[in-house]
Symmetry: C2
Subunit: 291 residues, 2 copies
Amino acid sequence: MTTRRTFFKRAGLGLAAAAGAPALMTAKAQQTQAGGDSFKLAIAGYTFHKFNLDQTLEMLKKVDVHYLCIKDFHLPIKSTAEEIAAFHEKCASFGVTGYGVGPIYMSSEEAVNNAFAYAKRVGVKVLVGVPFKFVGKKRVASADLLKLIDAKVREYGIKYAIHNHGPDMPELFPNAESGIEMIKGMDKRVGLCLDIGHQFRDGGRCPVKAMTDYADRIHDLHIKNVTAPDKSGRGIEMPRGKIDMTAFVRAVRKTGYAGACSLEYEKDMNDPLLGIAESIGYFRGIMDATR
Amino acid sequence: MTTRRTFFKRAGLGLAAAAGAPALMTAKAQQTQAGGDSFKLAIAGYTFHKFNLDQTLEMLKKVDVHYLCIKDFHLPIKSTAEEIAAFHEKCASFGVTGYGVGPIYMSSEEAVNNAFAYAKRVGVKVLVGVPFKFVGKKRVASADLLKLIDAKVREYGIKYAIHNHGPDMPELFPNAESGIEMIKGMDKRVGLCLDIGHQFRDGGRCPVKAMTDYADRIHDLHIKNVTAPDKSGRGIEMPRGKIDMTAFVRAVRKTGYAGACSLEYEKDMNDPLLGIAESIGYFRGIMDATR
């Protein structure tokens, strides 16, 4: 039986809107939060793209996870202040904090402006995004939008995290390196949401090396495991894949990373809960064994 | 997507009957089996006492577990050779090996004789049991039956593992110590199935200490977590309980234990799969992080 205690959650990831909101969290989750981990275990909203917010929060509750990266299908970019407040209230009733937004694909200055304004209204400190332009029908990373983003992070005090998407999109941030190359010299708040699965799928690039080399630019993490170090690699329950998750967690600890480790589970998306439970359990086991 | 390969499994836990049977196992499970763990991850049959064998094997498959301790509700003690062969065949079709039998409660010489004969017919090398006598209506540990069991382990070459059951049954092996006290001087094959949850529930006794102190007598393990170090403690998803599972796994490794770590999950027994997945994931995470 889960021992649950009501307590007033501190907004550990900088969410002003929900600060002071009552929340439910197991003793274990509280201990983990309090007990020496600089980072938080979370789930990326995309995991639940076939489910509405209520279903999503029910699943988070079942696996005792208390942080969510908010996707726009759960909270549209055009949401009003009232809609945003209602969203946070519902999350808080499940003991969940929406700690960031995205990934948001943005292909114009207006889209960048809207995304930052949205992140500010939602009250989060990290915006995961993919800035691109069309070259014909192809989506290609946009240096011009990154310049604007560099100004925006200073204006808003919000971190921007470029999401890498592996060999499926070779001209749209396939790996961490392609993002880093385009943002060097910019404000450190322009950085990465390192997706370790896509990083590994892009020719077997090492997630540990990326985590270590780019630590000061990593503002969000998509944790997952995959079946192969190439384009054929598919998402799988975390214990069963090819990425050495223990080495990765040790690297995360070593860097002092203070953001979220967000599980993005992309297998069985019509019925993902069982694989999520196995994956969250696995990551927690490694967290506990490496603390 | 799970990459599964057909291979000829070696009967790592001494099951002669299924040796050479084709079995399905993920690459990860094979690696774990091959990769330096002296022990096997398994599930105790009692976990599935509301389910038939087919349902049980489907659940084992979903969580990628390949060893089962056989409970008599899945394979009755009076089973014929044909029924036992059919049982093993069905298990093998799911890539599962029944590595042991029990727990079997036995209160007479005849019951002890039957249990050993059954274990031999099933082809396993470990028999988990509870030898007792009635004192009035109360079940009390039986020294006389243990004497018979001491002879039986020599006759059959089968290990006998007394299951401890915590403060709910204070005169029927509540803890490891009470079992050890009654078997000292006997053949080392008379030993324990250390249930770490019940050990901890019995006044907060330390599972790490029991594992370490009685290593040469521990022939099976029931792994689980519980909410409290006393009689009020209830089963819970493994990451969320009070037992330090990392310390326990390290102790298991240190002793060179070569049996099974069998999850006995006793929460949500009408619908246990989600909690099993979280628990198995968690234990695997600790296994991987401590290897």
